[in-house]
Amino acid sequence: MNLEGTLIMIVSISLVTGLAAFCVLKIMQGHGK
């Protein structure tokens, strides 16, 4: 895998993981509401 491919893979996985983590965090914050 070349450098570009590695970067795209890391960025893509980070984006979807970050979005999922954001949602989990918000759900936990809103749990008591």
Partner: protein
């Protein structure tokens, strides 16, 4: 129409049900195939753009409209009657009902393949090692044996062949599981199952991912999936493929989320829930779909792995790979168990809208609605299973329902949201109980950009080689006879045209039948 008293047990419950409903074979098999074919890592650019301007808006609109419509009931007619009346109401409701019901009828067949492969791997009864008499290279011979296994199991060699295979029993087993879960109800059936199935699916997928990433030279396979071909971004078909993938992956336009979200109360959040379900689906797709299928396929089968379609990748290439892999029996069993759970969590949500319609529209009790829908869907499934030569009936049904009609329903929904309800009103509605606000610019995107994008995709789909016109052409024996080749005999060509016509006429008949049923249910409840 009388309104059901069912409700969700928890916020996380509906998120997991909707997310697991969206997570299916498309995440593990279709996404990597499309990415590898259309630019590798570069595919992620149109994919992310499509997620932002098509996926999220359509997704959130379904959640908001579902909860909004749920004040009056949970079936498609009860939800849509808030926004329309007369013939448009009957037609739209019929579309929203037949999409999940008809997709269920063939999806459960594919679910049965997954279960059959999982059981075969567990029991070790699958033997894909090619006979020594084959005068081809080991890789080709392995694929040949794997293809033979798939064709025999699913009965694609001749119409009716599937009835001589054990697959029929697996179909019946899947039917029993799906209807048992729906019989238990929203909270005790769908929700309880999703809460168990999603963690199991994620843990199993991590086990497979760990195995794949530990293989020698896996970076070569990862390179085939992720190394970008930037020139692909200049090709229109790549953008259409990315939008199509987002569309199918998130299961938008299926008429399912509308029903599921309608069981929410007014104070329940829909915006964070919708985004959470979509993001869980994307996580599974990009992480597991992006790191497992193509990398391992390329490592074992070389460049030819990209040429396999979704089914070829899942049921021919991957079983062949597992049979070569150390510990392949164990990992093969886990892999097909993942696919089976992903399929089951999707199919079970497809049954719910039909059951809700029977109960609200005709006042059937659960004990009555279950056998009615069971018998109706099973009779269609058995026709699809019977006319399975070259997967013809399944393929045509999937095109008209799983491709064409979901575009139509998604477009209707987005137009209702942006133009009938109005973005201001819908924003106020969505804000009730919301744990996150809608982002700035959302109203403009959903009112103008998303419909325009949908229109472009639809036009391209109509004009494309495999698109709408081609599907009409395939009903003609004269046209199909021009396709006769070494791989398609004259008899096959005629059979395919006949099946294509049969499927089309069958779907038209079922659609008209549902228009009639919707009309009847509305009259019965004096609300037309």
């Amino acid at each position: 129409m009388s309104k059901s008293n069912e409700e969700w047990g928890s916020r996380i419950g509906i998120i997991l049900v909707v997310a697991s409903g969206a997570i299916g074979l498309g995440n593990f098999l279709r996404f990597p195939g499309q990415a590898a074919k259309f630019g590798g890592g570069a595919f992620m650019v149109p994919y992310i753009v499509s997620f932002l301007i098509l996926g999220i808006p359509v997704c959130l609109s379904e959640w908001i409209m579902g909860r909004m419509g749920g004040k009056h009931g949970h079936s498609a007619p009860n939800i849509f009657k808030n926004y329309m009346s007369g013939i448009p109401l009957q037609v739209t409701s019929a579309i929203a009902l037949i999409i999940p019901i008809m997709i269920y009828t063939y999806y459960v067949f594919i679910e049965a393949w997954c279960l059959a492969y999982a059981v075969d791997f567990v029991t070790g009864s699958i033997n894909l090692h090619p006979p020594h008499t084959l005068a081809t290279s080991s890789s080709e011979a392995l694929i040949q044996t794997s293809t033979e296994h798939f064709n025999t199991l699913t009965g694609t060699k001749a119409n009716g062949a599937s009835f001589e295979s054990k697959i029929v029993y697996y179909v019946l087993a899947c039917y029993a599981m799906n209807f048992f879960l729906v019989y238990r109800g929203i909270a005790k059936g769908l929700e309880a199952f999703a809460k168990m199935a999603v963690p199991v699916l994620l843990i199993s997928a991590f086990i497979i991912l760990g195995k794949v990433l530990s293989l020698d030279n896996i970076s070569v396979g990862l390179g085939r999936m992720w190394n970008p071909d930037w020139s692909a971004l200049l090709r229109g078909e790549v953008w259409i493929a990315a939008a199509g993938q987002i569309f199918f992956s998130l299961s938008v336009g299926f008429g399912i989320v509308l029903t599921l979200a309608s069981y929410l109360k007014e104070k329940d959040d829909v915006q964070l829930s919708g985004l959470s379900a979509a993001s869980l689906n994307e996580f599974v797709e990009v992480v597991f779909g992006g790191l497992i299928t193509i990398p391992v396929g390329f490592l074992f089968l070389g460049a030819s792995v990209v040429s396999f379609g979704t089914f070829g990748m899942g049921f021919v290439a991957l079983p062949a790979i597992f049979s070569q892999m150390q510990g392949g029996q164990f990992f093969g069993a886990i892999w097909f168990f993942i696919l089976f759970i992903a399929a089951l969590t999707s199919s079970v949500t497809m049954v719910q809208p039909g059951i809700t319609f029977l109960e609200e529209g005709f006042h059937f009790k659960r004990k009555e609605s279950i056998p009615i829908l069971f018998a109706f869907t099973l009779s269609i499934t058995l026709l699809i299973v019977y006319f399975n030569k070259n997967l013809a009936a399944l393929d045509h049904t999937d095109f008209w329902i799983g491709t064409f009609l979901i575009y139509v329903l998604a477009t209707i929904q987005i137009l209702i949201y942006g133009w009938k309800i109005g973005t201001k009103e819908a924003r106020l509605e969505g804000a009730k109980g919301a744990l996150i606000p809608l982002p700035p610019g959302f109203d403009f995107i959903i009112k103008y950009i998303t419909p325009a994008f949908l229109l472009i995709i639809f036009t391209a789909f109509v004009l494309s080689e495999d698109g709408l016109m081609n599907s009409f052409n395939r009903m003609s024996e004269t046209y199909m006879l021009t396709k006769v080749s070494a791989t398609l005999t004259t008899e096959d060509a005629i059979n395919q045209a006949q099946v294509a016509r049969g499927v089309f006429l069958g779907i038209i008949s079922i659609f008209l039948f549902f228009v009639f049923l919707v009309n009847l249910s509305l009259k019965k409840n004096k609300e037309i």
